[in-house]
Subunit: 135 residues, 2 copies
């Protein structure tokens, strides 16, 4: 491996299908460190068009985008387009969603912050009216 | 991007040269989230042959290997060879080092766990007698 290859760094395998009513499509989850530890880290892969419902985290969350193209949106704000290398620092108790663009897979690491403060609170789906205008 | 491309996910740029007496060669550091937040995350790139000194973390640390080939060793144990996708969960107060193999660059994300417990404690360099036998 030379320094020219660093931008092609490989991360984690897909892991298992993650079945959840909080996503509108197919998602894979590979936990890199377990729930219940100080800093649970999951590798999350969304198929094109798949996003999660609006939700919030009691302790916050950090997203590190590792592949594809997707979006992050906080309630009342415009959606932010995301690409590999982008970092999203989600404050505690801020209502938001994240997921893939319509035509792209999307992969991020999700790092729970202050996880001892409690689990995520899941809310309503992202409406087609909100999602469909995104490119 | 198709699902076949997921294994080539790109991560972070090199960032800045990180000048420190606690490494025996050239290292680059790109902080993805700042020191002083709940969960500081740095992208660390080692040139071939470069490793850090023995050290320990008051709150622990998680390494996510994103590229190249390197090693992690805890005091009194054999070195563990690392490749992209490997995860190292470093317990609090365990003396250890990490760095590149002799012939490879090495890149990992370093996630500080329970960082409010205090900074790392830096100790002596890894001896040539310990490092040179590693392939």
């Amino acid at each position: 491996m030379s320094s020219n290859d660093l931008s092609n760094s490989v991360i984690s395998p897909l892991g298992d299908r993650f079945k959840s009513d909080n996503f509108n499509g197919t998602v894979w989850l590979n936990m890199l460190t377990p729930f219940g530890t100080a800093c649970p880290i999951g590798n999350v892969t969304f198929e094109p068009g798949c996003r999660n419902n609006w939700h919030k985290h009691a302790g916050g969350q950090i997203l590190l985008v590792t592949g594809g193209r997707g979006y992050y949106q906080e309630w009342g704000k415009p959606a932010r387009e995301l690409h590999a290398g982008d970092v999203v620092n989600i404050p505690a108790d801020v209502k938001h969603w994240h997921g893939a663009a319509k035509d792209s897979w999307f992969v991020h690491l999700a790092i729970e912050v202050n996880s001892e403060k409690g689990p995520a609170t899941w809310l309503e789906p992202v409406s087609d009216e909100a999602y469909n205008p995104l490119k």
